[in-house]
Structure formats: structure tokens, C-alpha cells
């Protein structure tokens, strides 16, 4: 009955729809499982892998949150988007357009964003409490903005994961589409790695998840890969916005001249952020001082 009393249009109506979608996401079993796994693995890592110098390779850990929470969000958001298809004829008679419902579905990205933020805050707090090796790429050896940019890639990737799920749910109607999207996302992210050891490593940043830290090398050093993480963060946000716009594009009535200009502007912004990420920041891969306790070969 609450849906009948909801304002049919305007900001209040949209907010109500967005809150419903965010709640559905927060309660989705796949999303809850992904969040739980992300935090369990982080906890296990802190308990089992830490040595006398503190938590090793902290800047690689945002990957855990992005993988478990972000990819689970892709699946959950795609399933949420597809779930209304069974009643599409009924929904079509309700006030509002498909594009408006899609925009409300984008709010399903809020719980993953919050979960990713909590993950990142937990990571920073744990590193502060337990400590890290003085040679580690972290606050003190890197500018603060670079560390924050890399740490915040986790919540942004979680947010983008949900938006990609909405995009996939709107356009891909075959069964198992979300499974294929998850595998494709992993494989595409991997395609940047051949460039890591080359002089053009900054061009790997076109992928949706680029690594900036290699972990420990056999000689106890760590490599920070070239590129501007802050601009890359902007690139990821622009990709997320493109995903929402791409999902709204599915509704033919939404493709107004103004909407097309918006899509072009966001695509241009994504391209600009990518060029900035690849051409500014650290121009070459940087190698840290060796950490004696991590020398393995």
C-alpha cells in the first residue's frame, strides 16, 4: 500500500523509490555474503599474515573489498534489476518511466559504497593500530593524497560494481548474464597486467580495476606502479556514471537531445580522467627500500 501513497513524480517520489532499491540491495543475500566474506578475509589476513613489522602490503588490500563486495554487488544488482521484469507489464502501467526506475535502481549502489567505505576505514584504522613497516608504501613514504586515492578505490569499485550490475540487468536478458559479466570483468582487469613491467605501465589504467602496488618482491622491496591514482579514481567514477546512463539509455523515451549531450559529456570526462591518470602522477614504477624480514629470494 505504501507504493500507492507515494508521490508519483518529483524529488520526493524519486527519493522514496531510491530508498526502496537501496534497502533491497542491503538485504540481498548475495550482497550480504560478499560483504561478510570481504571482512572475514581481511580479518584473517590481519591475524595470520602480520609479522613483527606490522601489516604487510597494506596498499594491496583494497583489492579484497573490491573483489568480494564489488563483484557480489554486480550479481546482486543485476538480479534486482531483472527481478522486476516478471511484472513488467504491470509496472509499465504505473506512473513514471523505465529510465526513472533505472535511476532509482542506481541507489542500489549506496549499500556497497557504504560497505566499501567501512572496509577502507577499517583498513586504515588497523594499519594505524598494528602499524606497518617504515619502508612500506603507505602514509610517510607516499603523499597522503596518493594513499587515500588508492584506499578509496575500494568503495568506488563497490559502487561501480552495483551500477554495472544495473547496466547488465537492463541490457543482457539471457540467463547467466551476470555470471558472464563477473568473469569478463575479472579477465578484462587482468588484461592490464602485461604492461606492469614495461615502460608503458601507465596505459594499463584503461581497465576497470588497475593495481598500483605489486606486493612484496623477492628482494623485500615493493613496486608502486606508475600513474595518477586520484585521476584514476575520477575515471572509475565516470565509468560508474556511464553505466547508469547506459542503463537509462535502454528506455527509448529517455534518449532526448539533452540526455545524449550528458552521455557525451560524461564519456569525454572519462576519457579526460584516463589521459590524466596515465600522463600525470608517478611517471615511472617506483621501488621501495627493502624490508629485511620480507626477503625471500
Amino acid at each position: 500500500m505504501s507504493s500507492l501513497s507515494m508521490p508519483a513524480s518529483g524529488i520526493a517520489g524519486h527519493r522514496a523509490m531510491a530508498v526502496i532499491e537501496a534497502r533491497r540491495m542491503a538485504r540481498h543475500p548475495v550482497f550480504v555474503l560478499g560483504v561478510a566474506l570481504g571482512f572475514v578475509v581481511l580479518g584473517l589476513y590481519v591475524v595470520l599474515v602480520g609479522d613483527e613489522t606490522g601489516i604487510p602490503v597494506v596498499l594491496t588490500l583494497p583489492l579484497l573489498g573490491a573483489f568480494y563486495i564489488g563483484l557480489a554487488s554486480v550479481i546482486a544488482a543485476a538480479l534486482l534489476t531483472r527481478s522486476t521484469e516478471v511484472a513488467v507489464e504491470t509496472i509499465a502501467t504505473a506512473p513514471g518511466t523505465e529510465a526513472r526506475r533505472t535511476l532509482a535502481l542506481a541507489a542500489a549502489g549506496i549499500p556497497p559504497l557504504v560497505a566499501g567505505l567501512v572496509f577502507s576505514v577499517a583498513l586504515v584504522v588497523l594499519a594505524k593500530v598494528i602499524g606497518v613497516a617504515p619502508q612500506e608504501w603507505w602514509f610517510g613514504t607516499l603523499p597522503d593524497w596518493q594513499v587515500w586515492s588508492i584506499v578509496l578505490m575500494c568503495p568506488v569499485a563497490c559502487f561501480d560494481g552495483a551500477l554495472l550490475g544495473v547496466l547488465a540487468g537492463r541490457w543482457l536478458r539471457f540467463r547467466g548474464a551476470s555470471a558472464m559479466v563477473v568473469v569478463a570483468l575479472i579477465v578484462v582487469s587482468l588484461l592490464g597486467t602485461p604492461l606492469l613491467e614495461t615502460g608503458s605501465s601507465e596505459w594499463r589504467l584503461w581497465v576497470p580495476w588497475a593495481i598500483f602496488h605489486t606486493g612484496d618482491n623477492p628482494d623485500g622491496t615493493q613496486t608502486l606502479i606508475a600513474g595518477n591514482p586520484a585521476a584514476y579514481l575520477g575515471y572509475l567514477l565516470a565509468l560508474g556514471a556511464l553505466a547508469v546512463l547506459g542503463a537509462m539509455w535502454h528506455d527509448r523515451t529517455a534518449r532526448t537531445p539533452r540526455f545524449r549531450i550528458l552521455v557525451a559529456a560524461v564519456a569525454a570526462a572519462a576519457l579526460a580522467f584516463f589521459v590524466l591518470a596515465a600522463t600525470t602522477g608517478n611517471h615511472d614504477n617506483r621501488v621501495s627500500d627493502p624490508i629485511p624480514s620480507r626477503v625471500t629470494g
Partner: protein, 196 residues
């Protein structure tokens, strides 16, 4: 036999199942091109085969067909045979070793067989509980779960569940455990009757 084949030809959701196998073929091509990335591409290939197996029990009209005179257990046992398709795709790729990746074949056959068996058993169990299309949820979750151990291998000193080259006994034990779990789930799922 012909009745079973007739049923499988018409009753199985072949499009997503073969789509998963097709995606596995694409990844096998990528593996041939970039064999150094086998640590991630091989699990991704397994993810595709396992996701394909998740669709073996998709049946939109399940509430109707589950109560036909032939019986639900006949249907579930027949559909288990469909898992031979993704299993064959996996076995073929491991046998061919694209990019000359040094897979220890018996170990990797075990690994794929165990995963596909567990996924098929889980889908059969869901079907037994009258879930008409378990593949829609199971396939993406399985795809994610198949790749997840790669992230752990890079972080922990436990070693990898997808060893390229030598196949340690501990890893074999883990996959044997998965295979036994899969067999147990299949045995439960294939028991006669329905449990809504």
C-alpha cells in the same frame, strides 16, 4: 534412452548452458595467447564451465513437470547427464593444454570434475526444493566462488588451489573433499520424491 534424449533436447536450457561452454572456449583462446596469466585465466575457465553446469536443472514449468507420472527423480537423474557437456569442455581444454600451460592433467581433471559435480548437485537440490531456475542465482555465485581462491593465494602463504605444474597432495586432498561433497549433494538431491 531415446525418451531421455528427447526430454533433454527439449527440456534443458541449452542456450545459457552452451553459452557458458562458449565463454570457456573464448577463455581457452586467451589462455593460448597469454599462458603466463594461467593463474587467473584457468580458474576463470573453470568458472565458465561450472556456471554452465548450474543451468542443467533450469525448468520454468517445474511445478507442472514435477508431478507428472514419470516422476521427479527420473527427471533429476536424466538432467544430471547434461553436466557431461561442460565437463567434456573442461576435460578437452585440460587435455589440449592451450599455450602449453603445464597442467598436471589428472589433478586438473579432478578439480574440474569436483566443481561441476558440486554445482550440478546444488542445482539438483534446489530443483528438488521446487526452485524452477536455480541457474540464475547459482551460476554467478559459482563463477565468483571459482575465482575467489586466486585472491587468497596471493595474500596468504597457504599456496594455491590452482597449481600450475606440480599438484601437491594437500591440494589434491582439498579437491577430493570437494568431489566427495559434490557426490553427497548429488546423492541427496537424486533421492526419489520432492521436498518443497
Amino acid at each position: 534412452m531415446s525418451t531421455r534424449l528427447w526430454y533433454l533436447r527439449r527440456g534443458v536450457a541449452w542456450l545459457p548452458l552452451l553459452g557458458g561452454c562458449g565463454a570457456a572456449a573464448v577463455i581457452a583462446g586467451l589462455l593460448a595467447r597469454w599462458p603466463d596469466d594461467a593463474f587467473l585465466l584457468a580458474p576463470a575457465l573453470l568458472a565458465c564451465c561450472a556456471a554452465a553446469a548450474a543451468f542443467a536443472y533450469d525448468e520454468d514449468a517445474l511445478p507442472v513437470v514435477a508431478v507428472t507420472p514419470r516422476g521427479a527423480s527420473w527427471r533429476r537423474a536424466t538432467r544430471l547427464g547434461v553436466t557431461l557437456v561442460p565437463l567434456s569442455a573442461w576435460a578437452l581444454v585440460v587435455a589440449l593444454r592451450p599455450g602449453d600451460v603445464p597442467f598436471w592433467r589428472p589433478g586438473w581433471w579432478l578439480l574440474g570434475g569436483a566443481t561441476v559435480l558440486l554445482v550440478a548437485g546444488s542445482a539438483a537440490l534446489a530443483s528438488r526444493r521446487l526452485v524452477p531456475t536455480p541457474g540464475a542465482l547459482l551460476a554467478p555465485v559459482v563463477a565468483l566462488a571459482a575465482v575467489a581462491p586466486v585472491t587468497l593465494a596471493g595474500m596468504f602463504s597457504w599456496g594455491t588451489l590452482y597449481p600450475i605444474g606440480d599438484f601437491p597432495d594437500t591440494v589434491r586432498t582439498v579437491w577430493l573433499g570437494v568431489a566427495l561433497s559434490g557426490a553427497a549433494v548429488c546423492a541427496v538431491a537424486l533421492r526419489p520424491g520432492l521436498r518443497p
